[in-house]
C-alpha cells in the first residue's frame, strides 16, 4: 500500500479508543492486504483499488473539503469517510461498503480483535 492508501485505512480504523480494539495496522492489516492483492480475483482487486481511490480523493469533497483525505484533520477524515457511506450516489455508497468489507475481513479475523470482542 502506498502512503495515501495507508492513510485511508488508518482513518477508517485508527489506533486507540476506549474499547481496547487495536488500529488496523496494529492488528496486522498490511499482511492481509498484501495477500488480498495477490490472491483476489481481478474484479475484486480492481474494486478495492477504486474504493481506496474514492476514499482518498472523493470523500473530502462530500464534506466540502479539498482532497486528498490525508490533508484533512483527523476528525474531518472520519467525517469524510462516514459521508461516503451516506452518499446519495449508489456507486459511492458501494465503494464505502467494499472498503469496509475488505478491511473488516482483514481486521475482524485477527486474534487480537477477536479476543477483544469475545469471539
Amino acid at each position: 500500500m502506498n502512503a495515501r492508501e495507508r492513510a485511508v485505512i488508518d482513518a477508517l480504523l485508527p489506533p486507540g479508543g476506549p474499547e481496547g480494539l487495536p488500529g488496523a495496522f496494529e492488528a496486522g492489516f498490511e499482511a492481509f492486504e498484501e495477500g488480498f492483492r495477490r490472491d483476489a480475483p481481478f474484479t475484486m482487486r480492481l474494486g478495492w483499488r477504486a474504493a481506496l481511490f474514492v476514499a482518498a480523493w472523493i470523500s473530502p469533497l462530500l464534506i466540502r473539503r479539498l482532497p486528498p483525505l490525508d490533508n484533512l484533520a483527523e476528525e474531518e477524515q472520519t467525517e469524510a469517510l462516514e459521508a461516503l457511506g451516506k452518499s446519495r450516489f449508489y456507486l459511492v455508497r458501494q465503494s464505502s461498503l467494499l472498503l469496509k468489507a475488505v478491511t473488516s475481513f482483514g481486521y475482524g479475523s485477527t486474534p487480537a480483535v477477536r479476543r477483544v470482542v469475545g469471539y
Binding site: A11, S104, G108, R114, V117
Partner: protein, 434 residues
Amino acid sequence: MFRDMNGQVARGRAFIPVIQGRTLGGSTVINSAIVWRVPDDVLAEWAALGLGDALPATELHRHWDAIEKDLDVASTPPEAWGGFNRLMHEAALKLGVRGEPTRRYAKDCGGTARCLTGCPSGAKRSMLTTYLPDAEAKGALIVTGAEARRVVLKDGRAVAVEGRLAGREGRFVAAARRAVVVAASAIQTPQLLARSGVVSAHLGEHFMGHPGTPISGLFDGPGSLWRGATQGYDVTHRRRDGRVKIETIGLPPEVVFARLPGAGARWKARMAEAARTAVFAVQTRAWAEGSVREGAFGANIHYDLTKRDMMQIRRGLRFAAELLFAAGAREVWPGVHGLPERLLPGQEARLEYGPDDPACYSWILSHLFGTARMAAHRGHGVVGTDFAVHGVSNLVVADSSVFPTNLGVNPQHAIMAVARLCAERLAERRNGGA
C-alpha cells in the same frame, strides 16, 4: 471456499452478491445444512405446470426419507441454540407466530456459529463427508480443480466432456459412454450448456433466487452473537401469504463488522457492541426473474427485484424488527439507506414504508434456480421431463437450474432429491426399464 471470494455479483438497480460454494462438496460445505422438503403448495405449482409425473411428490418424499436417514437429519437441539436462536424462539412464542428450530444435517452440532466457513467440529454432514466418500468407495473417480469447459456433442448426442485443470497446465477429455450429467448450479450450468452448443430461448433465462437482507437488534446483557447454530431457528409464519421467511444468522466478526455504520472511532464503538446484537435475515421468495450469460470476467448475471418483491421485503423487515423488539432488543439497526441508523420500539412501521429502491438495501442472493428449467415441450424449457436436454441425447441436467419455479425454502434438500430421482431414472434406462 466461495466462488470469486464472494465477489460474484448480480447486476440490476442494485449490485447483489451471489453466494456459491467453490470447493469439494460444493455449497453443502459452506451452507447451514438446512433441510426443507419442497412445500406442498410449491409441488402443486409444479404439477399445475405439467410436471406432476416428472417430479412426483410421492417419489420425492421417498428420496427425502432416504436422505434424511443417511444424513441423520434432526431439529437443532436447544443446547445448540446459543443466544440468538433462543431470542427468536422467545419472540415467536411472545407474538404467537409460527417458528421452529431448523431441521439440519448436523446431528451433533456444537453451535460454533461457523457453518458458513465449514464446520470446525465436523458435525455437518456435507457431501464432503458423506456421499462423496461413499461414491469413491464404490469406484467413482473424483478430480478436483478440473473445470468442465464444454460438452462435446456429436450427431445430437453428448459423447465427451472437455475441460482444463486449474492451477496446472493441461486439458482433459473424458469420454461419456452412457451419459453426461451436468450439475454445476443455476449459474454455471447454463454457461456450460451454451458453450457446448445447446440452443434454447430459455437457456440462462428465468434466473430466480431468494434475495435476503439482514437487520440487527442490540440487546442488553452478555453477548450472544458468536455462539449457536448458524441458522438454528426460523419463523415461517408469513411464508405463504407474505412470501418471506425470517431466519437467525450467526456470523463471525469480520462479516458483522462490514455492515456496521460509521468510520473511525464510531465504527470501532459499534464493533465493541457487536457481540450483543442478534442478526435476523429476511429472505423472500422473489417474483423477479433474471438471466445468466458468460461474461469476460465470469458470469454476467442480471437480476432486478420487482415492486412486489420490494413490498414483501419491506413488510418482512418490519416483521423481523417486531420479532427483535419482542425478544427484548433495545434498538434495531436496519442498515437501510434513507432510514435512521437506529430504530426504537414503536418505530417498526417505518421499515414497511421505507425506500422502494433496491439500491437502498444491502443484499445477498442465495438459493438459485431456473436457468435450464424443465418443461415437457422444448418451446417452454431447456430440459424435458426425463431431465435430458431437449434435442440432445445423453445430456442430462440434475441441479437446481431445472426447477420450474422459485421454492421459498432452502433448496439443498430439494436439489438432492431431484438429483437422486434423475440418477434413478438413468439407472432404470441403463437397465432397460422405462
